[in-house]
Point group: C2
Chain length 404, copies 2
């Protein structure tokens, strides 16, 4: 007998019909002789509706009260799904975060899970009950409700899988797995049978929306076997694990794009030591993440630093840098928000000779000009014109997957 954690998102439980469908998947897993813990998100638009109610009262509502408000959404989902399973004749109980004992840090709206008490869930599993748990939320040391921020329910599922040493953690989504590329962009993109945690992390942070990085990081840390699969079709998804049995030796795992970024260049910086630290420390303090940094020699005794930030952070970043122009000592600042990033991801991409070159060749043949390059051990990213992004993705995907 295995213990399986299953997570279903908001669209999967949006109405009674979908709830019964999800209950069918859960029932099959339970009837196959497994212990089952299920994590659910809030139904369809529930969270948006609650946010709208709060906005009407105060667009800058306290995060503590927002968490109090939003956490009701998942509680509604688990109660309704428990009713559906019970109607199907299955033993089931719904539990919210404080009943499970999901202990988090105190940061409202972006808390981290610290610990999960096991008594209640264990007792319910011992009674052979299916246990439904509210995703996205926890309780802090003051006994206040916290929420986990973006990708929170995935994180709840992985954390429960880790705490109860689950054999498998299945994340059900509206896609049926992880693809070599976005199938809407490249119709012959292939579904991957397996992918490593590190590859998944790189793909996720390079714009692939399937799993949130936090949940993958947690899965990697606690060796949780993940599977991404469809809640609509009953077929195997993509397994995310430590090591995969890769058959195609020299190939990459996938191609990802990200057009939600902008580039900032600081021109004419003095050659003072620590100037890079100074710049990125200022941005980090304002919670602005920086990606793809490039430093180049400028004219005479100066240098230039270029880097990308999320488009949503562009305005704040510019403001902070200009406010500190004197302290940082730069000549002027330029901005480009018409750029995009295209990445290839795969174990050993940089170790393998010729993989990066093959990517650049595809871009050259497609007439795409590369502005900046950034690499990790298992990833190569290029910064290009936003207008070239889709063309670049198709060219690269074709180069690696069509020529086999």
């Amino acid at each position: 007998m295995s213990l399986i954690v299953q997570k279903f998102g908001g669209t999967s439980v949006k109405d009674a019909e979908r709830i019964f469908h999800v209950a069918g998947i859960i029932a099959d897993t339970y009837r196959a002789g497994n212990d089952v813990i299920v994590v659910l998100s809030a139904q369809g638009d529930t969270t948006d509706d609650l946010v709208a109610k709060a906005q009407e009262i105060d667009p800058h509502a306290s995060r503590r009260e927002m968490d109090m408000l939003l956490s009701t959404g998942e509680q509604i989902s688990v109660a309704l799904c428990a009713m559906a399973l019970r109607k199907m004749g299955l033993p089931v109980i719904s539990l919210n975060a404080w009943q499970v004992g999901i202990q988090t840090t105190s940061v409202h709206s972006n808390a981290r899970i610290k610990r999960i008490d096991s008594e209640r869930v264990r007792a319910e599993l011992d009674q052979h009950r299916i246990v439904l748990v509210t995703g996205f939320q926890g309780v802090n040391k003051n006994g206040d409700i916290t929420t986990l921020g973006r990708g929170g329910s995935d994180t709840s599922a992985v954390a429960l899988a880790a705490a109860f040493h689950a054999d498998l953690c299945q994340i059900f989504t509206d896609v049926d797995g992880v693809y070599t590329c976005d199938p809407r962009l490249v119709p012959n993109a292939r579904k991957l049978e397996e992918i490593t945690y590190n590859e998944m992390l790189e793909l996720a942070s390079q714009g692939a929306q399937v799993l949130h990085n936090r949940s993958v990081e947690l899965a990697k840390k606690f060796h949780v076997n993940l599977e991404v699969l469809s809640s609509y079709e009953r077929k195997p998804g993509t397994k995310v694990k430590e090591v995969t049995k890769k058959v195609e030796k020299t190939n990459i795992t996938g191609v990802a794009k990200d057009t939600s970024i902008a580039r900032i260049a600081l021109v004419g910086l003095q050659h003072n030591p620590g100037v890079a630290f100074q710049v990125f420390n200022l941005l980090s303090k304002a919670n602005i993440s920086v990606d793809v940094i490039l430093q180049s020699i400028g004219r005479e005794d100066t240098k230039d630093i270029s880097f990308t930030v999320a488009k949503k952070d562009l305005e704040d970043a510019q403001k902070i840098l200009l406010e500190n122009k004197e302290a940082i000592h730069f000549d002027h600042l330029t901005v480009d928000d018409k750029i995009g990033k295209v990445s290839i991801v795969g174990a050993g991409v940089m170790a393998e000779t010729g993989v990066a070159a093959k990517m650049f060749e595809a871009l050259y043949e497609a007439g795409v000009n590369i502005q900046m390059i950034n690499t990790s051990e298992i990833r190569v990213s290029v910064l290009i014109d936003e207008a070239d992004v889709n063309k670049a993705v198709r060219a690269i995907h074709a180069k690696f997957f069509d020529e086999e």
Copy 2:
């Protein structure tokens, strides 16, 4: 400095505008130098909407899961109201039942409050925060969420007032107090300045909808000073307390009607001892409440028993009695669902000579035939034709209040 508990119902917090209005009342109370605990119900139609969602999945959903579902409604209310008060610049915190520690019995959907932990609320009051508490709900010894059934939020408010020795418990409703009669029926009905717990109990159980009996019983038991007042108009309501300073010596407190009842008569019962116990025990086991019992001598060696039940219970009661016809030994059963009950309530109504007679006189003058009479120390009720009820109420009210 006083501690005041204020309770607002669902229509009082149904949208942002009403929430800000309620927040204004709370803010005034707090700014006048009082500690304030506020109990809120679920917004407007929230509970109905949640019930509809559950019905769609299973019309016979488990009560445990119904409580899990419905308790989200009050949590939404307290979070939103906390946002409104905070926007007005007031220190405030919302707490749900498990955060407060409202310990109840285990009966889902109809739990009783056993104990209220005081630490968290006390700590928040010590920080000079307004404390908003979810009404209608608690937690049982298993850590499961329970709800308190009808009138639950009033009960929560009174229980909190008792636990924290509040100086006053204000129940805000859509009427501005307790009247001598339903003002929609008798336009010159008068608002009472004060009423005793016992009078309020009799009025409530005789059909006056202002306060639920459970909350009044609890207030009586713990000597909680209650006030019923309007959330729309800022004016004094009706105080409910142990002893009132009654000025009008021989008058009654109010006239109430109830047309949601039906009468059952068991005809031709054997004169066995314990037959009445047998009948009412059967009904009690099915959770059917019985009111106005009349036993009369029948023909020969038999007797008849008549009693009233709520109309909604009529079918079940008939079924149970007919199923046990042999055991109870009655000849036949008759039913009348076209009846109504009219009551007068007032301290010493039965002790005071002439009060009951005055009521019967009014009915006689109005040409209303009395079918059954039932009395308590502070109440006289008559059972009459349903068609005569409004006429009877007007006649009795005029007799006692217009002739002064």
